[in-house]
């Protein structure tokens, strides 16, 4: 190849190939990376207020179990989870909503009027009417749901887990 001040045909082809190749790499590469990490970028806002019926349905001083289901969509598959909430209507009109999931190993606790306690069938964890620990292996009181009352309808704030 004689050295000339102009670019040789070979150099020109090399540079064009590099430029076009880089452009194609970027055009294909950026969507490809997005495709791979898409599930990691998704924000799940499963947070919702669930209606639990008129407040007067809940007798004062008697914990009443309210059940609801939530459907979770994971890609191409759906999972239905059921949740239980004990609603406690206090004499002063305030409402307490407690998850019936034991804080020890997630068994479902049951209200026993005769002992005035929530009893876990798995390891005999005992909670008082407001979910505080009486005795047993549980590390913390029963989990509480936020509540609100709109036009006499009770709502429970479900945060998505």
């Amino acid at each position: 190849m004689p050295s000339s001040p102009q670019m040789s045909r070979r150099e020109f082809v090399g540079i064009v190939t590099a430029v076009v190749g880089t452009f194609m790499g970027a055009v294909l590469g950026i969507p490809a990376i997005n495709y791979l990490i898409a599930p990691a970028l998704k924000k799940e806002s499963a947070d919702v207020w669930i209606p639990a019926g008129p407040v007067e349905n809940y007798l004062v001083g008697v914990p009443t179990l309210f059940n609801f289901n939530r459907t979770k969509v994971n890609g191409w598959e759906k999972t239905v989870n059921s949740y239980g909430v004990y609603i406690i209507h206090h004499e002063d009109g305030s409402i307490l909503a407690l998850s019936n999931k034991c804080t020890h190993l997630s068994c479902r606790v049951n209200w026993k009027p005769e002992t005035s306690a929530y009893v876990c069938p798995c390891h005999d964890a005992l909670f008082d009417i407001d979910g505080q620990i009486i005795k047993g292996p549980q590390p913390r009181p029963l989990d509480e749901y936020e509540t609100k009352i709109e036009e006499n309808i009770l709502f429970i704030h479900y945060l998505g887990s």
């Binding site: 490809a32 791979l36 898409a38 599930p39 970028l41 890609g75 191409w76």
Partner: protein, 219 residues
């Protein structure tokens, strides 16, 4: 710095020799029809990459195949693009490989000493069609299901062996989860592995023998 690193690597890996042998070969003056082989290779690699990407979300089971593709198309960023490239690339690859065969035939490039290159090429063309055949079932929609039902029935008309071939393809009497699983396996493991190996042989012979020139009037 770059020159030093390259010299160090070249001394050990023989990069310059590979480059000179594979890319800096002496070639006769040829035309655009001679680019179809490279185009086929490029499409094979493109199909391989997009195919690997699709397996991240695709599930080869009758209860999830269709839904997982719906998810790729609507739930994943650029899923439509990756699947679109794989879908159209498949048709294009069949066309390009076929035209590559026609070029070789009409230019007489299959003659001595390239007969064996031709034989591996014919196998590669058949395997490419096999990729199209097995890939067509994977979306598990009505078209895929009935196309495969018809095609395996056609294979079943072979004298004496027909029933056996039909059942071997379907993995049973009817199209089922077994069919989908074996088509998926053939599509992503068996055929690509064999195609890859044959491309290696094909390219080795192209590099070893060089390419033939465009036939002239006196040929």
């Amino acid at each position: 710095m770059f020159q030093k690193t390259f010299t160090w690597l070249d001394e050990r890996l023989g990069l310059k020799t590979i480059y000179d042998t594979v890319l800096d070969r002496k070639v006769p003056k040829v035309n655009w029809w001679f680019t179809l082989g490279s185009a086929s290779l490029f499409l094979f690699l493109l199909q391989g990459i997009t195919g690997i990407m699709l397996t991240i979300y695709y599930v080869p089971s009758p209860d999830h195949a269709y839904d997982s593709i719906q998810y790729i198309m609507t739930g994943v960023s650029y899923g439509w693009l990756i699947r679109g490239v794989h879908h159209w690339g498949a048709s294009l690859m069949v066309l390009v490989v076929f035209f590559h065969m026609l070029r070789t035939y009409f230019f007489g490039a299959y003659k001595y000493p390239r007969e064996f290159t031709w034989v591996t090429g014919v196998l590669l063309l058949l395997l490419t069609l096999g990729m199209g055949f097995t890939g067509y079932l994977l979306p598990w929609n009505q078209r895929a299901y009935w196309a495969t039902t018809v095609a395996t029935s056609i294979a079943g008309t072979v004298p004496f062996l027909g029933n056996f071939i039909n059942q071997a393809l379907r993995g049973g009497m009817d199209l089922s989860a077994v069919t989908l699983a074996r088509f998926f396996s053939a599509h992503i493991w068996w055929f690509p592995a064999i195609i890859g190996a044959l491309i290696g042989v094909h390219l080795y012979m192209v590099i070893r023998l060089g390419i033939s020139s465009v036939p002239k009037e006196e040929d």
